[in-house]
Each structure stands twice: as structure tokens, then as C-alpha cells.
């Protein structure tokens, strides 16, 4: 999710721990194509789809999914960005306030099939926050969730509708999507850092 303290694709190796690639660019793009097909299979009216990305990692994934959907069904699917920071359930305990990110919801969500898109799903708390945020924008007909990587360790009853890859991890480890800051065709990679390298999830 937060990319602030994560080495970027061009930034080389983290000296503290050895990042292990769990999903490379080809794997990511293949997974997103498969997910696009699954979305079309499960939803009869592609015109009514609305991809809502959770920044920052979800945003390039949602755009790639939109491109894939366009290829498959020739429909321009709406893409929104929804920051969940102000809906987090841990703000009472944190001292330093997390940085806010962009929210841009170009069309109404009422009666739409909203597909939330996140890069890495672990506890489910971000998805919970995203659903609360979504409800402030209206009443979607259906909400489904895409997670590129599912780490497990769920703390809330949240089930993913579409998963790129299940990656069993330990709690101390962190998993990041790299290369998400750039344009659509930059190389993407999901990497795992061990606890010693000190990233935050």
C-alpha cells in the first residue's frame, strides 16, 4: 500500500534484507488478464462495472484491468480512486498522522457493480475501510474485491472475489508492489521483504 519507504524497481536491492520476487511483471499481467476474464464471466452487464482502486498500488492494476476489459468486451469501464486513510480503524492509536492520498470518483456509484482493486490484501482492514468510504458515495448494487496478492492473516470476515496469487507469508514480512508509480507499461513486480528489512505493510 504505502510506497513511501519501499525501494523502487530502479532503486536496487535493499541492503538490510534480500527482497524475494513473488510475482514478476509477466506473472502480474497474466493474472490481471485472467481476472478480467473472470469479471466478465461473473457480471453480465459490463457497462455497469466501476473499478475503484485503493491507492497507491491498486491504481495501476485497475487501469490495466480496465484496458483488459476493453480488449475483451469493448467497453470503457469507469475507473475511480478512493483513499481509505480517513476511514482507517487505527487512527486513535497512531501519533504521526498518515499522509492522505488522492480520491477521485468520476461517476456515481449508485446501482453500479463496484470492483475494489488492491495490490496486497492481508488483514482485510483496508478493504473494510474502503467499503465504508464507498458507502459515503452512494449505494452500489454489488461490491466485489480484487487482490493481486493474498497473504492470508485475515482479521476481518473479508473474502476476495478475484485473486492474482496466494502468497503464504509470516506476519513480520512485508509484501510490496514495485513500479506502481510510473506509467501503465512500466515493469511491475511483487516482492517480499523479511522482517529485518523493516518495511511496513
Amino acid at each position: 500500500m504505502s510506497q513511501a519507504d519501499v525501494p523502487t524497481a530502479s532503486g536496487g536491492r535493499n541492503p538490510a534484507g534480500q527482497p524475494r520476487s513473488v510475482l514478476d511483471d509477466t506473472g502480474i499481467r497474466r493474472a490481471l488478464m485472467r481476472i478480467a476474464h473472470e469479471i466478465v464471466e461473473r457480471n453480465s452487464d459490463p457497462e455497469n462495472l466501476y473499478l475503484v482502486a485503493i491507492p497507491n498500488g491498486g491504481e495501476p492494476l485497475a487501469r490495466i484491468l480496465a484496458r483488459n476489459l476493453h480488449e475483451i468486451v469493448d467497453v470503457d469501464v469507469a475507473v475511480g480512486v478512493l483513499d481509505t486513510t480517513l476511514y482507517r480503524d487505527d487512527l486513535v492509536t497512531t501519533g504521526e498522522r498518515p499522509r492522505l492520498r488522492r480520491t477521485e470518483m468520476p461517476s456515481a456509484v449508485d446501482d453500479r457493480v463496484v470492483i475494489l482493486v488492491d495490490d496486497v490484501v492481508k488483514t482485510g482492514r483496508t478493504i473494510r475501510a474502503a467499503m465504508d468510504a464507498l458507502m459515503d458515495f452512494g449505494r452500489p448494487k454489488v461490491v466485489q474485491v480484487v487482490g493481486l496478492v493474498d497473504r492470508g492473516h485475515r482479521e476481518l470476515p473479508i473474502k476476495l472475489d478475484y485473486v492474482g496469487k496466494n502468497v503464504p507469508t509470516r506476519t513480520g514480512e512485508t509484501v510490496h508492489l514495485r513500479g506502481a508509480d510510473g506509467c501503465l507499461d512500466d515493469r511491475l513486480e511483487v516482492v517480499l521483504l523479511d522482517a529485518a528489512s523493516g518495511g511496513t505493510a
Binding site: 487512527l91 497512531t94 492522505l100 492520498r101 477521485e104
Partner: protein
């Protein structure tokens, strides 16, 4: 980064100001939603402690707090009872016993928010103290200029009017200087504070010189009743000499914008047409006020003094 209290712009680093402006930019989007409310400060108590009446600022903080789901309590101690039986610090200690999460303080005398912050566990936001500072006003002014001009660095900002009595002037001087702008002040000489150049500004008495090449002109409110006759001879002479109108704006840049912290004395600080139309951006300032105060409440509501958390741990 961001300290515990927001007492003045003088205490902030440039990065702090940038962080607040960036956060406020995100907060503006919430105000454009159908449901203008996020749950961020649910269960938190924000107290508007206004010793000096100011409906505009109080309402702006109140809306900001409510949009973040905080419980906002307005507390305006009567000044007379204060003087007789209770000092400001007594009031602060009483308030502290009620465990507020953020206290917003407005007072006619400089320094009161600082003194209150010294005894309170909760973070204190200064909503204007005497002629000292009014940090959220300066922040909303900075946000407005950033939106209008796309930058603050390198701009020339001219502040016109009652500098000596103005907290808005001081906060804006610190804010614009820290963000890299050149700041000029212009006023009848009795309204220029002593050693004003130590604040990093250049003082003028000629409007033509002060406005020459200005990107932003900020007119300050004149407290008519109190000042006419002692700091300048008459409202008429002030308006003619230091009041902004389209003719005087000719000296400034073509794309100059005009600001005013409100409420405007029409025909005094600003000519009637300037008060309502471009290049004045007064309503944008008001709109940005809510976003800035949301950002400030969000960023400054996370901290408590050690004393408070120790107390909570100790009692558990």
C-alpha cells in the same frame, strides 16, 4: 515534523506548511461530496474555547470538526466572570479535567493559547490571539494563493493596512516568507510595528511603490471605531490613500489577486466592486478555511502530552 500544538506559523518549518496544504487539498474533495463527512475523529471531542467572539472562525472550525465526525463543543467563557473569579489558567485546568482531544483557543490578548497549551494535555490550536498569530487564516491564505498561482515561491505579496494590530499580518508574513515569497507591508506609519524589518519584510508608505509588481495584495480589516483619529485622521482619508481600488491595482501585476481576511468594510479597505468580483478571491479563502481546519484537526489531533497517556496507563 508537526509539533503537538499549532500556536503560530512562526513555529512551523516549510515542510510542515507544505504537509498541511497538501492535506487540505485532499480535504477539499470531501466538501464536494454528497455526504460531506468522514469517520476519522469519531468519538473525539473538539472544544472551541472562544474568549473573544468570532462567529466566522468558530463556525469554520465547527464545520471542519463535524466533517471529520468529531463532537464539537462551543465554550465561550464570559470575560467579566473570568476577571473576577477565575484566571484563564483556571479555566484551562477545568477544561482539561473534562479530557478534550483538541482545544481551539481564541482570545483578544496575545499569548493566551501558549499559556493554555502549557497546562493542557490536549493539543491546542490557536484560532487567533490578540495581535500575535492566526495560523489557520494564514494557511488558508497560502492555500488560496497556491491554487490561484500554482506556486508561492518567488511571488511578491503586499499586505496593506493595520499591520501593528494584526495577527493575520504576522502569520501571513511568517507563512509567505517560509514558503519563499517576498513580503511587503504598507500602511500609515503609526500602523507599522516597531522593527518590522526583523520579521523579514520591507515596509512602505507609498501604495504605488508597495504594489509595484505585486502578485498578491492582501488588505487588512480596519477597526473603524477604535483607530480613526488616532492612527490615521479619518476613514475618508484612509480609504482614499490606502483603500484598494482598480486604479491603484494598475501598479501591480496584470494577474494580481486581491485577498481580505473578512469581514470587509466596503469602500474602506476595498472598493465596492473589488469586494465582490475578480481579482478578489475572498470567497475562495472562506471555502479553503474549512479544508485547512480539517487538515489541521486531522494532523494535530493525534498527539497528547506524556502526562495524559501516563495517567491513562496508570489508572488501567
Amino acid at each position: 515534523m508537526i509539533g503537538r500544538d499549532l500556536l503560530g506559523i512562526e513555529d512551523l518549518e516549510r515542510e510542515d506548511i507544505e504537509r498541511i496544504l497538501e492535506t487540505a487539498n485532499h480535504m477539499r474533495e470531501i466538501g464536494e461530496r454528497e455526504v460531506k463527512k468522514v469517520p476519522t475523529l469519531r468519538g473525539r471531542t473538539v472544544v472551541n474555547l472562544f474568549f473573544e467572539a468570532s462567529t466566522r472562525t468558530r463556525v469554520s472550525f465547527e464545520i471542519a470538526g463535524k466533517r471529520l465526525s468529531a463532537d464539537v463543543i462551543n465554550f465561550s467563557p464570559a470575560h467579566s466572570s473570568l476577571k473576577k473569579s477565575e484566571s484563564i489558567l483556571d479555566t484551562a485546568r477545568t477544561l482539561d479535567a473534562m479530557d478534550p482531544d483538541v482545544v481551539i483557543v481564541r482570545h483578544a490578548v496575545a499569548g493566551v493559547p501558549k499559556r493554555i497549551a502549557d497546562v493542557l494535555d490536549a493539543p491546542v490550536i490557536n484560532a487567533g490571539d490578540g495581535a500575535h498569530e492566526h495560523p489557520t487564516q494564514a494557511l488558508l491564505d497560502l492555500l488560496t494563493v497556491q491554487q490561484e498561482k500554482g506556486r508561492i515561491d518567488g511571488l511578491t505579496v503586499t499586505i496593506v493596512g493595520d499591520i501593528v494590530h494584526s495577527r493575520v499580518a504576522r502569520s501571513n508574513i511568517y507563512g509567505f516568507r517560509k514558503m519563499g515569497a517576498e513580503v511587503r507591508v504598507v500602511a500609515p506609519p503609526p500602523m507599522i510595528p516597531a522593527a518590522v524589518e526583523t520579521l523579514g519584510v520591507k515596509a512602505f508608505t507609498s501604495m504605488r511603490e508597495a504594489l509595484d509588481g505585486a502578485d498578491v495584495v492582501m488588505a487588512l480589516r480596519i477597526q473603524n471605531e477604535r483607530l480613526a483619529g488616532s492612527y490615521f485622521p479619518s476613514i475618508r482619508e484612509y480609504a482614499a490613500t490606502f483603500g484598494l481600488d482598480r486604479a491603484k491595482l494598475q501598479f501591480a501585476k496584470d494577474d494580481v489577486i486581491v485577498m481580505h481576511p473578512g469581514p470587509v468594510n466596503r469602500g474602506v479597505e476595498l472598493s465596492h466592486d473589488l469586494a465582490d468580483h475578480r481579482p478578489s478571491v475572498i470567497l475562495d479563502q472562506v471555502r479553503n478555511g474549512v479544508a485547512i481546519r480539517m487538515a489541521v484537526l486531522y494532523l494535530f489531533s493525534g498527539r497528547r502530552k506524556a502526562g495524559r497517556s501516563e495517567r491513562i496507563q496508570g489508572s488501567s
